[in-house]
């Protein structure tokens, strides 16, 4: 009763006792516009073959956000990729339910791995994102859905869980899963995305209670979506069987750790994925996707701080991934394992501006090739 009385008093009064930070009275400062972008130069090196380099405005992403009040905000990112593709990368509403527990709905980044969420060029080492975060975790991986995120401050734990649109495995007569791309081409990117009655689940738990250390575990699971399930005549057994064969159950787990001590930092990430039901899928869709895939990397780095704003970051990254580590049919493209070594540095001219150069060597089962990459990145 007493609390109800106090609430009523607070609601009808503008007394000093109830005064606090207030976004609604000055909406001009609530809109926020930001941008990040990266321009790259990739030059393959091969002593026997002459190859052209590539110059690319790889990404230019504008962020528009609005803080409606203390509890509710909207964040969107519109991405221009390779100077000719436009995508919506994020568009979600975040609303605080109670302290340290928020709801998020809309187009959300799938919380899996470091780079998928922290993909601004000033946030990761190397000109290009790690290849594990391209072929195994298909960054930028985003989906439409709804879920919860929160903090347990006493336990130093951050958690998030979302119900999301599924991945698409079969669309308009075309199989999207293959041995080289077990997941990347199945992203629907929120473009009139189809969904199952049972959505996919993405969840992450992170522990940050030890100074300098963060560790996290992420999970993604769900059945893929097939266009054959749209307007399916359930009395037609043959069509139902075909539709069943055009989907797989996808399961992925990622473990990540980030340890910093003085100027030294080391990141480690490992992802394991399974495409259950890949055998009937391959037989029906005439594809060659494996039943499992994996990727991991270890990346030590050292920061040389010139001053508060200017620094150099030297790093090396050893990674290995296989987009087709377990085969479900015999005639597979077996050359899917890659070992990648990257060595490079980044120079932060000031906070939010970086220039990067690195050397990358990639070994396959049968050959190897090398690339020199250079680029600039900004975030402001």
């Amino acid at each position: 009763m007493r609390l109800i009385f106090i609430i009523l008093i607070c609601q009808v009064s503008t007394a000093i006792f109830c005064q606090r930070i207030d976004f609604e009275s000055d909406p001009d400062k609530n809109l926020f516009i930001k941008l990040y972008g990266e321009v790259h130069y990739n030059q393959p090196i091969n002593p026997n073959i002459k190859q052209n380099g590539m110059l690319d405005v790889h990404r230019l992403v504008t962020l528009f956000g609005y803080q409606f009040n203390k509890n509710t905000q909207f964040v969107s990112e519109i991405e221009f990729e390779h100077a000719n593709e436009i995508f919506v990368e994020q568009a979600f509403l975040k609303h605080k339910i109670i302290s340290n527990l928020s709801m998020r709905a809309g187009m959300i980044l799938v919380p899996m791995g470091f780079v998928n969420v922290n993909h601004e060029p000033t946030a990761f080492n190397g000109v290009e994102r790690p290849l594990v975060d391209k072929y195994i975790i298909p960054s930028t991986w985003r989906s439409i859905g709804i879920g919860l995120s929160g903090l347990l401050t006493n336990q130093s734990i951050k958690y998030q869980a979302y119900l999301l649109e599924g991945m698409s495995s079969y669309k308009d007569g075309v199989a999207t899963l293959s041995s080289g791309n077990p997941i990347r081409n199945s992203r629907q990117k929120g473009i009139k995305a189809s969904t199952n009655t049972i959505p996919s689940l993405a969840a992450e738990i992170e522990y940050f209670g030890i100074s300098g250390l963060k560790i996290s575990a992420s999970y993604f699971g769900g059945q893929t979506v097939s266009s054959l399930n749209d307007e399916l005549d359930l009395s037609n057994e043959r069509l139902v069987l075909q539709a069943d064969s055009s989907v797989v159950r996808l399961r992925m787990v990622t473990l990540f750790s980030d340890f910093s001590f003085d100027n030294f930092n080391i990141k480690m990430q490992a992802t394991f994925g399974k495409n259950l039901d890949s055998k009937p899928y391959n037989e029906f869709a005439n594809s060659d996707v494996g039943s499992s895939f994996y990727g991991f990397y270890i990346e030590p780095a050292y920061n040389i701080n010139v001053n508060d704003k200017k620094k150099w970051t030297l790093f090396t990254r050893f990674s290995m991934y296989d987009t087709n580590s377990s085969q479900s049919i015999d005639n597979l493209n077996i050359d899917t394992q890659r070992t990648v070594w990257t060595l490079g540095f980044g120079h932060f001219f000031t906070k939010g501006v970086v220039g990067k150069i690195d050397f990358q060597k990639i070994w396959t089962e049968e050959s190897n090739f090398q690339t020199i990459n250079a680029g600039i990145g900004v975030w402001f």
Binding site: F32, S102, S260
Partner: protein, 173 residues
């Protein structure tokens, strides 16, 4: 089943009371636990509220405490929506949207208790770690200035750490 779950979730979210209370009332239970005080509202007397560009805070005196102490509950602005990039001016934070809520107990200007009550942003939440915050205990608020980083900054939570230390220094004034 799923639709029921989602509709139940949405009902819970939008029907949950979002009334704006004083920070003391918003975090009554947590503060009672932290201060080991059973009846927070009866025991704490409001000394002052302060609304500055970088923070809003309320100061209370615990009247049932045997020793002299001041309880500060604050909403501290950190950086901008969507994450911080270049130097975010929390000190002149007219355009800051992200904030966190914090409680601290001062005895003779020294920090005896400190806890993050709520962290809304997706960036810099590492500051809420108990292991990190205990580095502040026993330090005087007057030791903190922008140019003097008394406690280590957490990599990835630089702006939040800076904002906290700036806020502590401002209390000295």
């Amino acid at each position: 089943m799923v639709l029921k779950f989602i509709s139940g979730l949405l009902f819970f979210i939008f029907m949950f009371p979002q009334t704006e209370l004083s920070l003391l009332l918003q975090y009554e239970k947590k503060i009672a636990k932290i201060t080991e005080s059973e009846f927070v509202i009866d025991n704490f007397k409001l000394l002052e509220t302060n609304n500055r560009p970088f923070a809003y805070w309320e100061a209370y005196k615990n009247e049932k405490n045997d020793f002299e102490s001041t309880l500060i509950i604050a909403s501290i602005f950190t950086c901008n929506l969507g994450g911080c990039t270049a130097e975010q001016a929390y000190a002149k934070s007219k355009s800051s949207q992200e904030y966190f809520d914090l409680v601290l107990e001062l005895s003779d200007d020294k920090i005896s208790k400190i806890k993050v009550l709520q962290y809304f942003s997706d960036y810099g939440y590492e500051i809420s770690s108990k292991n990190y915050l205990k580095k502040y205990i026993g330090r005087s608020i007057c030791d903190f200035t922008l140019s003097n980083t008394e406690v280590d900054i957490i990599s990835g939570a630089t702006i939040s750490c800076d904002a906290l230390q700036y806020f502590l220094g401002s209390l000295c004034d």
